[in-house]
């Protein structure tokens, strides 16, 4: 069907002959874009290579071959960064267009190889032996530098996860699933404080117009960590009222972020957390026994929510 649309629009005078000939080439399949395929290949290559290389050195520590492999890795890291520095445009506070299509992946490769090398050096020479946490902090600082210097949102998320893990907060679905997130007793409070501080910092940066396109990544991580922390607090301690208030204020904040950034991912976080929070509140207070009331509650609350979204549909339109 998409093949016939350009022709029709041309016939009705919506597009010019010149535009038609360009669009037609693509919609008729005469030119095929392998943009995403190439990028997936590239990404997979980086992923496999860096994981393989990391395990490779780790397993062969103390053997003869590993000296060669570590030298190769260091050389590769240097080569990556040499390439990146040579090609990269000057630093700018706004978003920067990559000089070559695979520039971003070379940055990623270099940064990941760097952690492998750093991990090796730490293991072999015990640079940070007294304080393992410090090395995470170094990794995080390095990632932040790379992310800002080369305008790389992917590295930025690695930097945030590394910084979070310095505070023992693990941002990984597998860990949440296995319950390791709550391994230490006050971790949920750390999570709440951490995410609030990072969010405030990122809003400050946004205000100063420094890399405003990074704000989404920051706030995405912050809201996730905040809500997980607050919900955990809700279920664990006796102070559930406090955590409930925290959840609600988080919801108000993410709701405004969703509107401001026109990104409704935040709305999902807000909805799910508010729902869990409110359900918990009701379970503790009104609806303790009667199962019928629970069913009515889910119909009314979700029905109301759907009605709200649908009636204010213009409010929730993505910017085109």
């Amino acid at each position: 069907m998409t093949e016939e649309i350009p022709r029709k629009l041309l016939d009705h005078g919506f597009i010019s002959e010149d535009q038609y000939s360009k669009i037609h080439l693509i919609s008729s399949g005469k030119i095929v874009s392998v943009f995403y395929e190439l990028r997936s290949l590239f990404y997979l290559g980086v992923l496999l290579f860096t994981s393989g290389a990391g395990i490779l050195i780790y397993k062969n520590i103390g053997e003869f071959g590993h000296v060669i492999s570590i030298i190769v890795l260091i050389l590769l890291t240097i080569a990556c960064f040499w390439y990146v520095y040579k090609k990269a445009p000057a630093y700018s506070n706004s978003s920067v267009i990559s000089p070559t299509p695979y520039f971003d992946y070379i940055v990623l490769l270099g940064a990941l190889l760097f952690i492998s090398v750093q991990g090796y050096l730490q293991f072999q020479f015990g640079i940070f032996n007294e304080n393992l946490g410090l090395s995470t902090l170094v990794t995080s600082a390095f990632f932040f530098y790379v992310a800002y210097r080369f305008d790389h949102a992917g590295i930025l998320s690695l930097a945030i996860t590394a910084l979070a893990s310095f505070w023992s907060i693990s941002i990984s679905p597998q860990k949440w699933y296995s319950g390791n997130f709550l391994s230490s007793s006050n971790l949920h409070n750390t999570a709440i404080v951490f995410s609030t501080v990072v969010a405030v910092v990122s809003l400050g940066l946004d205000k100063k117009a420094i890399k405003t396109h990074f704000t989404f990544t920051y706030l995405n991580f912050c809201s996730l960590i905040f809500f997980i922390g607050a919900i955990a607090g809700l279920f664990i301690g006796n102070l559930w009222g406090v955590y409930l208030l925290l959840i609600y204020s988080g919801c108000v904040f993410t709701f405004y972020v969703a509107r401001w950034k026109k990104s409704f991912l935040f709305l999902i976080y807000a909805f799910i957390s508010a729902y869990i929070g409110t359900t918990y509140l009701l379970a503790r207070t009104v609806l303790s026994e009667a199962i019928e009331l629970w069913f009515l509650y889910s119909i009314v609350s979700c029905g109301g929510f759907i009605y709200f979204i649908v009636s204010f549909k213009n409010y929730f339109k993505q910017k085109s």
Binding site: M1, G52, G119, L132, G154, N220
Partner: protein
């Protein structure tokens, strides 16, 4: 059978979506885009993906409340009545979806419609399954019918996928139950049937009459190709034979006709890749990439899984090499292929990519509280996540 939506609305929505993509790629100006939008108005309520997910979750929660209350009301009526009621409730949900959401409120794939649709399918299939005591054939058959109905009528992609899988299931069990020779030729039955399906779908796609189902047809096309490959894959055939047909194999022993399946494992992906490139068929290309990866896995599985780290490193280096070569090769359009992104797709957003990076690559190492001898942090343990 026709779709449940109004054709002009559907058509105009496609026009709007297409021109939006052209505008994003800089083929047309904003004024042109706006002009097209006002000339092709679509009354549909079709929100963006995130809102759809949100509405989907909320609708499922609300529906669980509805079914819960109904369940309580009819709990005492006895098992036989419940079975029938399930089917009736499912059919009523279909009707409700069409009348209230599609006709009156003009919902089109809004999240609410999907939730109601799967809910309806679930109850009809569940009810029939209870009535027939979970008879495999009846279950698969009703799955095929209900999912096909949902797919055709509501242009839904997930039910298309489910319907195709049910069809494959019917073929498989028919051969399996017949026994004897038929059990031996299951791979060939599946391969030939889905090759036929593939050719048919290719033909149907060309017909203008079926243009609104183009995405459904593409789903069937991809899945057929995958099934053709999987049915001939050595790993799949061997493991299924051991599991389901009590084939006993000693270590190092080969199953009958092993050479044939080794051949398919190698030749099918290469054939897909060859025809994909020659015919500029992006679906064949994508499937061939997946198939090649799985073929490599198959051979590694039986011959030396001993050094996964070396395999990983070499595979990564090879992939990097190939993609850099291709990037450079496709700098200009060659044989109709280009590395440039012509049409922005939903999933192409940078933010999503950033999130995937953080979830699949290193950086997730939590500092262990108790110091152990292990280094605790080496980048990139996340090789288990698929991309």
């Amino acid at each position: 059978m026709n779709f449940a939506y109004k054709e002009t609305d559907l058509y105009n929505l496609v026009v709007i979506k297409e021109t939006k993509r052209w505008f994003k790629q800089g083929f047309i100006t904003e004024a042109q885009q706006i002009a097209v939008h006002s000339a092709y108005p679509s009354a549909f309520y079709h929100p963006n993906l995130i809102i759809r997910i949100l509405l989907f979750i909320a609708t499922l929660l609300a529906l669980s409340g509805v079914s819960g209350i109904l369940g309580l009301l009819f709990a005492s009526t006895g098992e036989d009545v419940i079975k029938v009621l399930c089917v009736i409730y499912g059919i009523a949900s279909f009707y409700f979806l069409k009348k209230i959401f599609i006709e009156n409120n003009k919902h089109y794939k809004s999240g609410v419609t999907e939730a109601l649709l799967y809910h309806a399918c679930g109850f009809v299939i569940g009810g029939v399954a209870l009535m027939t005591d979970f008879n495999m054939y009846a279950l698969l058959l009703v799955c095929l019918v209900v999912f096909s109905f949902a797919a055709i009528r509501y242009l839904d992609l997930i039910t298309t996928l489910a319907a195709t899988c049910s069809f494959a299931g019917i073929l498989f069990y028919a051969c399996y139950d017949t026994g004897g020779l038929f059990r031996q030729i299951i791979p060939f039955v599946i391969m030939i049937s889905f090759l036929i399906v593939y050719v048919l779908v290719k033909r149907i796609k060309k017909k203008l009459k079926y243009k609104f189902w183009i995405n459904n047809l593409m789903v069937i096309e991809s899945l057929s190709l995958l099934l053709v490959y999987a049915a001939g894959n050595y790993f799949v055939v061997r493991e299924l034979s051991v599991d389901m047909m009590n084939l006993r194999l000693e270590d190092g022993q080969e199953m009958p006709f092993a050479f044939l399946f080794y051949g398919f494992t190698v030749i099918t992906p290469i054939a897909f890749l060859f025809f994909g490139i020659r015919n500029k068929d992006i679906i064949l290309l994508r499937v061939s990439l997946v198939a090649i990866a799985f073929s490599v896995f198959t051979f590694k599985y039986y011959y030396g899984f001993g050094h996964p780290e070396i395999t990983l490193t070499i595979a990564g280096a090879v992939l990097l090499g190939i993609s850099i070569l291709l990037f450079n090769y496709l700098k200009t359009v060659r044989h109709g292929f280009t590395r440039e992104n012509h049409l922005a797709e939903k999933w192409g957003s940078l933010n999503l990519q950033a999130f995937i990076v953080s979830q699949t690559l290193g950086g997730n190492q939590v500092v262990p509280k108790i110091e152990t001898g292990e280094g605790g942090k080496f980048g990139g343990g996340g090789s288990t996540d698929s991309f």
